[in-house]
């Protein structure tokens, strides 16, 4: 790859990194804290490419430890450098969606690790406070009869086929969300079983080819669920639900 092509490619890679931070789509791939590093690196890549371009035009020869080395004369790079085109294409042309239920098939199916939560951690104030699925699972894991089972809560996720294993009367589908700790490559799943004693869940089925079906659900965690017996998947007895657009950010952290 010639030096000129390298410069253009670096400007493209840097530009695409800047773009995904500015339009917010970086949240499909990495955690919010990555915004600054990704943006800074985008600017650095564009800057070093422009510096090299200008110095080449003014006839200053490049100077690195590999100056005049044998197998890539005149600052040419090996063919592997072409692979840098792939992420540029993937981010510019084929706007890739965030991970969803498709990730539940492979290694992402394993349950997310719970976070350490005091057993008597009180719920946030208000009627039916909104909790993350990871928070609910962590609370029931700490105490399956704790405060989280005493009031109604509101949770958000996408509908997934049930993996019901234990008791609790899980006659509905699951509500799932993906949790990422660094980037989408380490995504793992967090789930609640949906129990439907009053027959309100008609129409709440997993999304098909058109995409995941996101819902917000109000209900109460059935006391005694979310234990090792049911694989730490608590059962939520549903009292109301409504469809929502894909939330932003799409993952829990």
């Amino acid at each position: 790859m010639t030096r000129d092509t390298q410069h253009v490619l670096l400007v493209l890679v840097g530009g695409v990194l800047i773009k995904i931070v500015l339009d917010g789509s970086y949240l499909r791939y990495v955690r919010p804290w990555s915004a600054t590093p990704v943006l800074v690196v985008g600017v650095v890549l564009v800057a070093v490419a422009l510096v090299a371009l200008v110095r080449d035009l003014r006839g200053r020869s490049p100077s690195t430890g590999d100056h005049g080395h044998d197998h890539h004369p005149e600052g040419r790079a090996g063919p592997a450098a072409w692979l840098l085109v792939l992420p540029v294409l993937a981010l510019l042309l084929v706007v890739l969606p965030a991970l969803g239920s498709g990730a539940l098939a492979g290694f992402g199916a394993r349950a997310a690790p719970t976070v350490a939560t005091p057993a008597d951690e009180p719920l946030p104030p208000g009627e039916a406070p909104a909790l993350g699925l990871l928070d609910v699972v962590s609370r029931t894991s700490a105490d399956p009869h704790g405060p989280v089972t005493e009031r109604e809560i509101t949770v958000t996720g996408f509908v997934a086929p049930s993996v019901a294993t234990g008791a609790g009367g899980a006659d509905g589908p699951d509500l799932a969300r993906l949790v990422i700790s660094c980037c989408a490559a380490d995504a793992s799943a967090v789930r609640l079983h949906l129990a439907d004693p009053s027959g309100r869940l008609a129409g709440v089925v997993p999304g098909g080819a058109e995409g995941d079906r996101w819902v917000t659900i109000r209900g109460r965690v059935v006391a005694g669920t979310g234990t090792p017996a049911d694989g730490h998947v608590p059962t939520l007895s549903v009292t109301a639900w409504w469809p929502i657009a894909t939330p932003d950010p799409v993952y829990e952290y």
Partner: protein, 315 residues
């Protein structure tokens, strides 16, 4: 010219490319691939920035004064330097490459390469957060990874051959009157182009394994510790997770005893498909083909020993 043609062709084929993504596995794999690139590129560039600073402002003479002359002593000192550099594996490759360029013995540079991503404060804190019920995991990881870095370094001083690394890597930039900032900028640019493609290659492999490795690999391993150690060591290589994230993945495999999960944490930052690709691109294929199996064997052994010592069993 060729770049224009590639971009044009891809634009024309956009329809079929997008159609291919209808399959959930392909779509998931593609997203994971982009995620690995977006996550790893900043760390790679951080490494090249440090590499640029070394090339432009830290002369070989300064490094010679800081490091002990005897390689056997330089190895643990370089390994300990890894404690303070909060980077992950992608960042340490360009830095280690530049250390060699500035005259640091290869064995010491490799000890740094292995130690920096495994035992820095960020990784140790992440491990403590991921294993709230098993704080001993942090000590076991520190011990296992430090032993791996120093062990591989010492082995290299005994069995390493100069021919494994191309001679061109051993020369600092010539002092030809180029301004320091220009040396810095050109080193960063050059290192990113050199290593970036290999990072993408490693990301492709890791993304493919992430969607193709079935969860059943780790189900039902609980009663078979030896098999579990082997599978987790292999998974660490194939999944190529960032060392900041791997503790959370290990924590999520809660059916397994601690020992196989420790092996996963010690092997991952030392040798995985992304790293092998990066090292092959940076240090040459001859080096990567010898370094990867050597590191794998040493890392698995050190992890098992550290685990038995700290957990007093398989955990």
């Amino acid at each position: 010219m060729a770049l224009c043609a590639t971009l044009l062709l891809a634009t024309l084929l956009q329809g079929p490319l997008v159609g291919l993504l209808d399959a959930p596995t392909v779509r998931t794999g593609a997203t994971v691939f982009v995620a690995i690139c977006v996550q790893a590129l900043p760390f790679l560039v951080l490494g090249t920035l440090l590499s640029g600073v070394l090339a432009a402002w830290v002369s070989p003479a300064v490094l010679r004064r800081v490091l002990p002359t005897r390689p056997a002593l330089a190895v643990p000192v370089a390994g300990a330097a890894g404690l303070v550099l909060p980077g992950c594996e992608c960042a340490s490759v360009p830095v280690a490459r530049r250390l060699i360029g500035q005259g640091v013995p290869e064995a010491a540079a490799c000890a740094f390469l292995l130690a920096a991503p495994a035992i820095n404060p960020v990784v140790l804190v992440a491990t403590a957060v991921a294993f709230p019920d098993h704080p001993e995991m942090v000590g076991a990881r520190l011990l296992g990874s430090a032993a791996t870095a120093v062990g591989v370094g010492w082995l290299l001083t005994r069995v390493g051959r100069p021919g494994w690394i191309p001679a061109r890597l051993r020369h600092p930039p010539p002092d030809d009157g180029t301004p320091r900032w220009a040396v810095f900028s050109e080193t960063v640019r050059h290192d990113v182009v050199d290593a970036g493609g290999f990072l993408v290659l490693g990301g492709l492999a890791a993304a493919a394994f992430t969607v193709l490795v079935p969860r059943s690999w780790v189900d039902g391993l609980a009663g078979h510790v030896v098999l579990a150690v082997a599978v987790m060591a292999l998974l660490a290589v194939l999944l190529a997770l960032c060392s900041e994230a791997d503790a959370f993945v290990a924590a999520s495999l809660s059916a397994l005893p601690l020992l196989p999960r420790l092996v996963f944490l010690v092997v991952g930052p030392a040798v995985d498909v992304k790293l092998v690709a990066l090292q092959a691109g940076t240090f040459g294929r001859a080096f990567a083909l010898r370094f990867a199996p050597l590191t794998f064997v040493v890392a698995v052994s050190c992890a098992v020993l550290a685990g038995l010592l700290v957990f007093g069993g398989t955990g």
